[in-house]
Structure formats: structure tokens, C-alpha cells
Subunit: 498 residues, 2 copies
Amino acid sequence: MELYLPYYKYFEQYGHKSDALFHALKAGILSGAISAGTKLPSSRQLALTYGLSRGTVNVVYERLHSQGFVRSVMGSGTFVIYHQLDVNDRSLKLLVNDAELSDWGKRLVEIELHRGQVSQVQRGSTDPISFTLGQVDVTHFPVHEWNRLMFGQVREQYKKESVDAYSSEGHAPLRESIAQHLHTFRGINVNADNVVIVNGSQQAIALIIQLLINEGDAVAMENPHYVGLRNAVHSVGGKVHAFPVDDEGIVFTTSTACSYKLLIVTPSRQFPKGVVLSMERRQRLLQWAEENNAYIIEDDYDSEFRHYGRANEPLKSLDRNGRVIYIGTFSKTMMQNIRLGYAVLPDALKNWFTIAKKVYERHPSSIIEQRALADFMNTGLYDRHIRRMKRIYRKKAELLLKLLTEQMQDVLALYPIDAGLHIYARWKGTEVEFEPFLRCCEQLNVQVADARASYLGDSEQAFCLGYAHLDEQQITDGVMRMVEARKNVGGVENIQSN
Amino acid sequence: MELYLPYYKYFEQYGHKSDALFHALKAGILSGAISAGTKLPSSRQLALTYGLSRGTVNVVYERLHSQGFVRSVMGSGTFVIYHQLDVNDRSLKLLVNDAELSDWGKRLVEIELHRGQVSQVQRGSTDPISFTLGQVDVTHFPVHEWNRLMFGQVREQYKKESVDAYSSEGHAPLRESIAQHLHTFRGINVNADNVVIVNGSQQAIALIIQLLINEGDAVAMENPHYVGLRNAVHSVGGKVHAFPVDDEGIVFTTSTACSYKLLIVTPSRQFPKGVVLSMERRQRLLQWAEENNAYIIEDDYDSEFRHYGRANEPLKSLDRNGRVIYIGTFSKTMMQNIRLGYAVLPDALKNWFTIAKKVYERHPSSIIEQRALADFMNTGLYDRHIRRMKRIYRKKAELLLKLLTEQMQDVLALYPIDAGLHIYARWKGTEVEFEPFLRCCEQLNVQVADARASYLGDSEQAFCLGYAHLDEQQITDGVMRMVEARKNVGGVENIQSN
């Protein structure tokens, strides 16, 4: 195909062949000149047209792919998929015409435009198996007991004196139960007054960032990290400084050149790598926060499920000076449909956090579930459920690890899974085979979670496998499909011809 | 008592006696130098000390009172009550020491410091009667039918395919039901795609403000208005320009000196005055929005309950060019504990609104209630409930209006109540008697909602009476207590000696 690209214009601007080609293509796609569904020229053709090496073209195609603009189909070529993003063309155009959003709104547009495309399982001839993250096993949930408590709260709802209908902090007995649970199971001594119920941990983290971070402020984070956190920082105009993660967790180095008011970490189980922050580094982080009057968000997203040994002490349990904000969630320990989480706040922030929440919600949401959950915790059902699920998840984790080790050890480096509900796998195969491998997985109806979007800047070739919601048969079949995908890898013109 | 005030310092700064005294006292109270519980000098004493008239001192005391810093106790004097605010001394001090909040956070502090004190019903010898706003009558709620639907959804919850667990816009069938309801009952033709479920209308309004308004931008509003809206504008650093309300609604005048991107109005029933926006003004507002590329938030907070005649056409039903964002809530039509509302968004804003919501919540809250409510609407139960409640609320409204007219006509100007769940009463009595009247009401255990906080700048002496949740006996007793309070008015040294 013939494709006119303003390549030379961008070459003048960027002074680098690869950048020029990338921006020329990206601008064309964004403007609609190269519309969704268009097949891009082969790397051979494009290389010839602009006097580039085919390797350069392939790098650019990879970069467009990682940003969700294009997709390669084995044996046919590279296609523009841009219109498949959430943001449809129409609203993008309206936006450009109206241009009425606030700076905050414009930052959301930026975030959205740079959002990676999540690959979808195609409905094919075989049942899809999705190793997606965030789902849990509900087949072992004590449905009968939970429903009984929910029924009770539904019956009471209309006659309840609406005392907690006015407390944005949430249902007081639930806050008590959480404080008690944290004391017993996580060694955190906290007053129920400092616990605030939220609609999932994302709400808590977004509000704290908004309370503390100005446009231009830098926030320290791990690399990789959960994309939602990065987006929350970008939404207020903050800059993300992402520090690498090694076997002991975040390698946080400060310089006099830059100071941080906020550090966001996942000490119990780094997301998504799964490594545990070493005790020495924990103490160093706390010391840093104290000396610099900074806050640390400890996102404890799934560490209730520790398969082996004793759970590490949370940062919060070591926090003597109110520098740590501890965030927990029930969406993983109960079920995904329950959007309840909590934040444990230092005294200095507690009132402001509540006031911030009230800007959006003067009243708490899901009050029936809050009340039923308080009963569920107080009657010991919650602890029993977690103990039971620990065993079940451990078995699944062991199976998945065993199969992957047996079958794919030569191409995958597997991170430890002594806790949590997913496994992080780094691709050890040749670099050019990773992308084709992911596409083969798609075609074989097995979905893995591409981990590259979790990185800021250079990313590792890696993916995550969430196994909590799958049974043993699905886990086994899923791995077998990956093995097959791996065998099929190769033969893709654009990539292989590098 | 002796009280040292930096009066002369502030007089130099402000050049006006009254302002100087006000700021000297306010600074003393805020800094803690004049602590909570302190009795302020009598107006006579203070006037003598600084060579002022007693009238000036009384005006200053009134101003401190209206901002929630002091409180007058009949026959004893004026007392500092500052520490009774939500914001306790400790966190204020920590704040001052730490001073780590973002600009957004600091604006919340400002808002909080200027928040008026809500008077509380004291538990006395008689049962308290509270004409508070926002509560509804649940004794006639179809509890049996609603609970049956809720039970059904509870049973399904753990096995539901979590399709809507991922749509921040909310449960699709509920969005369909709302679109249908709006079409049938409000004449609004809207696609379910443009309806987004929120956790109460405050969330919708706060997000829209955040999406559209930059620091320093002016937002046009009614005066008086709901304080939560004003706070949402102030939180993003926007300026509130409040336009007066007459018998036809907002008197919105634009000048070339100032342009607005956003106007927030309550056309169906002005909050809190209750007047209806005339058709001519509706058309003028729409025309203005079209010509100026501006948006209008139409907050339709309680107009489902129209006692007489046909409901007015909402602005949204006249909106041909996507300038109106229509906001509705179920907290008044169902029950207060159900924190569900919705926003109807123009195409140009719909995606950005959803993306904005996802910064805080990637998943919807209260999904069980969303599903049950969809069923409740689809089976006709919702419409039937509203029809029934209309009759019940009309009877209550007529009783309250009759009693107030009979008993207090000479001191109260009553605004029309052809819809809604509260009545707005302007004080016609002598100005100095209003404050003592409110305090007498408190002492007689009847709570009225002081309307002065709803004004920006000069406020009318007025209060609101929410009657929805009270039965006929309580309404009657409540009015009798007000009549008694009115008789008791007088004899307060600070005020009377003006």
C-alpha cells in the first residue's frame, strides 16, 4: 500500500529517524488520516521508502503496539486498531472542537490517549481461559452465611435510624472490626477513628494524592506499578518518579536534587512482581519519611493470602510517627462485586481525608454491605473464610508454578509466589519472540495480562497470570495452551525479519 | 473580663472600625488565644474599651455568629464555640505545623474554616422535633416488594458474571430504566448511553466542576444555593458568582467583563427558596449557553414531588445542542439510605465524565441496590410509589402551610410550596429578634434549618422546614413550639441593646 507520511517534517523536529517515523505514524493515526483497520506497509516497504533499516521500522511498530495504536496479526501484517479504545472518535473530535476542559480534564485526556490497549480474549472454538487479574474464587464463599447477614440488613434498612447515613467515614462498627482485624492479623495498632471506609482502594489513593500533591510535584513509586496509581498522580499534574524493584523490593534512592512528599509502595507483595520489601529497606523508608516529613502510602492489596510462613510486618506496624497511610480492600478477600476498602490514616490527615471524601460524597455508599460485613467480621466468619481460601489458593499457586516450571522454564523466569493471587513471569526467550507469543496466546484463547503497561519508560518483557478464579483443570489447560503458543512462535514477517 | 485584642493593628490594615474588630476577634479565636468557652465582653464593655458604638460591636458579634465562631446564650452573653467544629484543634495545629497539603487540600481547609456551625437539637425534656432537610417518609415505602427484589439480588450476587463490575457508568438496565422514566415523566429524550449512575448528586456535580473549571474561573450560581455546590467550586479554586433569585427564579445577567463556562441552577424548584424558573428565563439561559459554548448543570433534586399541576419542562427537555447536564437522585424518592443518583450528559462530556469517575472508582458501588432498583422501576413499583407519596407529601405540605399561615403570618413570609419536601420561610419580624427566635427554638427542642449559610455575601434572615419525614402530629407540635419560641423572643442583652 502507499501511505503518505510527514516523515521529514518530524525528522527535522526530532533529529532521529526512529522518533520521526514514530511521531509521523502516531500523528496520522490520532488525526484519523490513517484510520482504524488500515494495514500498515511491511517493514521492508517502509524501510525502502524512507531509507531506513528494517530494524528501525520494527522498533517503531513495537512502540506503536505498546501504546495501543496498532496490532500485528500473524502472517498478515500490522493493523491500526486505534478506534477500539474507550474514547471514540466522535468524543475526541468534539473535545478538539470544544476544548473546554479544565487543566485537570485535559490531563485525563492525555492519560487516556497514552493508555495501552488491553488485549481481549476472542471467542473462538475453544472456551476462553483468562488469567486476568483481580478476580477471585467465589465457589468456596460462605454464601449461605453471608446472604443471611445481608437479608437481615436489607430488612432493617428502611427502619434504621440513619445515623451512619451522615458519616462519610463509613459504618462505625465496621471501622471497629477492621481496627480489630488489623491488630490481630497484621500487628497494626490503630484506633477505629483513624479507619475510613472507601469504595475500593483506588478512591483512597486518588484522594490522598489530591490532598498532598500539587501540579509539578514529584511522587516516588515502584517500577513496575499498578497503572491506576500512576494515572491518579498524573491527573493532579504530579510527576511520577519510578524506582526499580529488585529481589528486596524498591531500590529507593534520594538525591538532594529532588525531594518527595509522597512515596507509594506495595511492601507486603510488590505489584506486580510479588517480591517482599526487606526489613532493612522498610526501616530506611520510614526513616526517610520521618526526616523529610513525607508520607508513605502502603497499598496492601492482596497480602492477606500468604501461602507460606508468617506475614511480614506491614510498614504501618512499624510507623511511630504517623507517616504511613495503610490501604486495604475487601474486593479480593470477599468477592469482586463488593467494592469496599479502607484507609488507615495518621491523625494529621484523617480529618482532611474525610473532608476530601465529602467533596464527592457526603454520605457513605453501600451501607447495607458495610453493615453486613461488620457482622461477618465480628462473628469470625471473615477470618475463617480467609484461612480456608489460603489453603485453596496455595494449592492453585503450587499447581500453576509446577506446570510452568516443568513446561516453560527455558523461556520464563518465575517470580516467587509465597503470597497473593497472581504470578509474574518474565520472558527469557529471544526478544523478538515475545510479541508473537502473546498473539499466539490470544489466538489460542488464553488471556495473560501483559505487564509492560505497568512500567514507566523501558519495560521488561513480562506478563502476569491471575489464577484465583480458575479451577485446576482450567489452570492446566491454560498452561498447555501457552505451551502450544510458544511452539507456534515464529514466522511473523514484521518482527522476525529484524 | 479583660481581653487584649490587636484591634489597632487590624484597624491600620482595614481602615474600618467594624472590620478591624471582627478580624482582631477572629484571629484571636483561630489562633487559640481566645479559647472555646470564653465569654466575650458585653457590647457595652467592648464599645467603651475601643471607643466604638455598641451597634458596631453587635454587628461584629453577629458576623462572628454567622460564621460559627460564637454563640449567644440568652441572659448570659456571647461565648466562643470554635472548637466544636468538626476540625479539632489538634489536626488544625498539625496542619499548621506540617503545612503539607496541596493547593486543593488548602482550599478544603479554607472552606472548612468558613463553614457555618449547624445548630443541634439538644436532648431536653420534650422529644426533639427536627424540621431538617433531606429526610423522607419511609413509613409508606413498599418495603415488602423492595426487600423481595433486594433478596433476589443478594442471592445472585456471588454468582453473577461480573459484567457490570467493570462499568464505572453503572448497571446498564438501570440506565435504561432511568432513560425511560425521564422520557415518560419529564419529557427528556435521552439515550441510556448518556446516563451515568453516581453515588448521589454531589459526586456528579463535583466531577463536572473538576472537569470544566480551572483555578480562577468563575462559575455562575443562584443565591441562595446548596452549600455543597459552592464548596465543590471552591475546592477546585473556582470563584462563585451568585445571582439573586426572584419570583421567577435566577436573575442571571451577563456582562462583557466576565464570562462563565458553567452555570448551576435548580430550575424546577429553586433550592432552597422553592420558586420555579419561568419559561422565558429558561429559554434565555439555553440561548446564552449555546452562544457562549457554556454548560448548564440542572440539579433536579426533589421535583418529582409536584403537589399541584403539571411539572415544568426541565431545561434538559428543551436542550437541542447538548449544553445541559441533568442531575437526579433516588435518595429523596426512595429512601435516604440509598445513595444513588444519576447524571444525564451531553455526548461531548459523557466519556470524559466516565473517565473522571474512574480516577476515583474503577468499579461501580452499591451494585445490588442498582440491580434491585432497575427491577423496581421496570415493574412499575417506582412510579406507583411516587404517585402515592405525592398525595401524602401534599397533605403534609398543606398542613404545615396552614398552621404557619394561621399562627405566624405576621413574622414569616412563606414561599410557595407547589412541589418538593421543604418550605422556605423568610423572617418578617424585627431584625434583632431573628437570632433570639432561632435560639428559643433550639431550647424548645424544635430544629429548623437556618438558611443564611445558603447565601454568599449578604443573607436574608430565613430558615427552611423539611417536613417529609414528620407525621401530622409532629408537624403540629413543631409549629406550636415555634409559636412559643416567637412569644419568648426578647430580653437578650447583646442584641437588644443595639
